[in-house]
């Protein structure tokens, strides 16, 4: 989430167009992130079918370390942890994406209207989002979720979505505010476009990068929150997800029993998913503001044979032999 701060400013660079959109995928970070994300999405869809066991089914292998039979070992009931991780992916992705969608929709609604309408509407809407921003989200989510009778996946997703739109709204508002003053918005108005058309066709397309990055950020947050809720036993754990696995590991004191395999795979999966999403966000950030790209070749061979890093303030001087000498006819230097 924090990475978006930098993304707000560089709106000045001409924003994406069709062909350049594809270039986003060419960003190695984004590409890696997308591949991993696609992998998790795939697991979320087919996990149920490829799981070797029913994740809830008991067997006689109690608390077994990973083996060929049980890749990630088993629980105290002899359940196969590998299957639990596979099947649990769906819940994680579902909640993450749904919460991300809800929050993004809200942030667009609130952020864009605050930015576009201005005046009192802006004041009250941005006060609202600032309040939500300052109030610690996770404790609020924990408390709200703990008060809901049956906090299933849908409910958890909604709660997370409804409490975590504020950051996106803030960023979008700032951006809309700057877009609203752009000449092309004024020009569209002068052409006679209606307000809603200006918002949806002139402003929104220019917000896509920010919306996408906000969406990804919220998904990260939602996944973390969801897993946290499951881990501390607040949301329903009837459906498997990674948090549920961790919940059981914790309540059965997997640590004390030395059953590291019980909580390592799920946690690792979270971390990898989180990293993938962060990478996508980097990709978006770098796409919006190419300066942030970590430059490829930064080492240069200089005049005196040293190799130096390119840096601000001290331009490297390449060995002169590289310079293609164009024949130049010069007059003689005048004597002083």
């Amino acid at each position: 989430m924090t990475a978006t701060i930098a993304a707000v400013t560089p709106a000045a660079t001409p924003t994406p167009a069709k062909r350049r959109r594809l270039r986003f995928v060419a960003n190695p970070k984004a590409a890696t992130g997308l591949v991993v994300l696609a992998f998790f999405c795939l697991i979320a869809i087919i996990g149920k079918w490829i799981a070797p066991y029913d994740p809830s089914a008991r067997s006689s292998d109690l608390i077994q370390a990973p083996s060929a039979k049980h890749w990630f070992g088993t629980t105290h009931l002899g359940q196969d942890i590998f299957s639990q991780v596979l099947v649990g992916t769906r819940g994680v992705m579902y909640v993450g994406l749904l919460a991300g969608l809800v929050a993004t929709a809200l942030s667009i609604l609130i952020g864009v209207s605050a930015g576009f309408l201005g005046g009192a509407a802006d004041d009250s809407l941005s006060a609202l989002s600032n309040v939500f921003l300052v109030i610690p989200a996770l404790p609020l989510i924990i408390i709200v979720a703990s008060t809901i009778p049956s906090a299933g996946d849908l409910m958890v997703a909604l709660v997370i979505g409804f409490t975590s739109w504020a950051w996106g709204a803030r960023v979008l508002r700032a951006q809309t505010l700057s877009l609203r003053r752009r000449d092309y918005v004024e020009a569209a108005r002068a052409t006679g476009e209606s307000t809603w058309r200006i918002i949806t066709f002139e402003i929104m397309p220019n917000l896509t990068a920010i919306i996408a990055s906000g969406f990804v950020g919220t998904v990260i947050f939602a996944v973390m929150s969801e897993i946290t809720l499951a881990f501390i036993g607040i949301s329903t754990i009837s459906e498997w997800n990674w948090g549920t696995i961790l919940f059981w590991a914790q309540s059965q004191q997997a640590l004390a029993q030395g059953a590291w395999w019980w909580f390592v795979p799920a946690g690792l999966a979270i971390a990898i998913l989180g990293t993938a999403l962060s990478l996508i966000n980097f990709g978006i950030d770098e796409f919006v503001s190419p300066r942030l790209r970590s430059s490829g070749h930064t080492r240069v061979k200089t005049n005196d044979g040293h190799s130096v890093r390119m840096r601000v303030g001290f331009t490297p001087v390449l060995s002169s032999k590289q310079a293609p000498a164009t024949p130049v006819v010069r007059r003689k230097e005048n004597a002083a």
């Binding site: 924090t2 701060i5 946290t228 303030g313």
Partner: protein, 326 residues
């Protein structure tokens, strides 16, 4: 100063909103604390004992929401947060008084340290593009994607096994009496190292990254080139020109993300059974202890607000543009 006035007005408004949310949340809860206590004593509490608890907790009275709301504000202004159910009849304020210092010490110091360390590393990473620091970014990203609590679990397994220097839970040695003695403080520090490390590792990379990006953005500003052109030393340009300006957005970012960070760090307390507010929240949620839940939420929110205010003041001191007269 106008800026500060506006901020303070905003904080008052936010505090009001948070307190009102706080008021309504438990009142929308269908369950009640007695059943939760029942759950806690699974089978060891008789049906009769349950009835006596309803009487004890005063849950058999009924009042209109509005008069409750008024009474609630009355209580808040007297610093009265009600009596905790789990620690009945200890006042919530006392429970919190006991745990707050731990949280402030752990979460406060580590969050601040993480901000400082992350920012400093970010300055270097952003300044020396393409150096090793830049290469470390993917690693730190990975670290920051790990949920706090899981990293804590991992830290306990790997580092806090029996016989290790690191204790796996608690705020200090069980036998000790909290006091300002060397052995107690030593023990408290020993117990806080692992949770602190967990928070630090998970949160520091966020700061590194934002600061790095900010530095990269700032580094291409004209005034940096001018500073170089003036022949200032590298250090001076980096610190006084680049970092100083790059810090500004980060300070307000710091303020705004405090809410997120504090939320995450509370989980560390749960995993390490650290006797702070986060652990209180965990207990309160488990036991439907609304007064305690409300108290915790209130204290967290107000602390975040306060920290925000401090960050605002820092921003004010750092950025002359906001000091504009009028």
């Amino acid at each position: 100063m106008k800026f500060l006035f506006q901020r303070i007005a905003f904080y008052i408004f936010t505090a009001w909103a948070a307190l009102t949310i706080n008021f309504f949340i438990p009142r929308l809860i269908p369950g009640d604390p007695v059943t939760s206590l029942m759950a806690k004593y699974q089978g060891q509490m008789s049906t009769e004992a349950i009835q006596s608890l309803y009487v004890l907790f005063g849950l058999d009275k009924h009042q209109s929401v509005w008069s409750q709301y008024v009474a609630y504000w009355g209580q808040i202004f007297h610093g009265d947060l009600g009596l905790s159910f789990t620690f009945f009849p200890t006042p919530v304020s006392e429970v919190l008084k006991q745990s707050l210092p731990w949280t402030i010490a752990l979460v406060g110091i580590t969050t601040f340290a993480s901000f400082m360390i992350g920012t400093s590393l970010g300055v270097i990473a952003g300044w020396r593009r393409g150096s090793i620091m830049d290469g470390l970014l993917p690693v730190t990203t990975f670290l920051s994607s790990i949920p706090y609590f899981w990293l804590g679990l991992l830290a306990i397994t790997l580092l806090a096994g029996p016989g290790s220097f690191f204790p796996s839970s608690g705020g200090y040695e069980p036998g000790l009496v909290p006091s300002w003695t060397g052995s107690f403080i030593g023990s408290a520090i020993q117990h806080s190292l692992l949770p602190a490390l967990t928070i630090l590792i998970s949160s520091v990379s966020g700061w590194i990254l934002t600061m790095r990006n900010m530095m990269v953005t700032v580094a291409s500003e004209d005034y940096i080139t001018v500073a170089h052109a003036k022949g200032l030393s590298e250090r001076r340009v980096m610190v006084s020109y680049a970092a100083r300006n790059a810090l500004l957005p980060n300070v307000s970012g710091f303020a705004l993300s405090l809410g997120f960070i504090v939320g995450g760090t509370l989980l560390v307390e749960i995993v390490f059974s650290y006797p702070g507010i986060g652990y209180n929240l965990f207990q309160a949620v488990g036991a439907k202890d609304y007064p305690l839940m409300q108290g915790v939420f209130l204290v967290i929110t107000l602390s975040v607000l306060l920290a925000n205010l401090l960050a605002d003041v820092a921003y004010l001191l750092l950025d002359p543009r906001t000091r504009k007269e009028g």
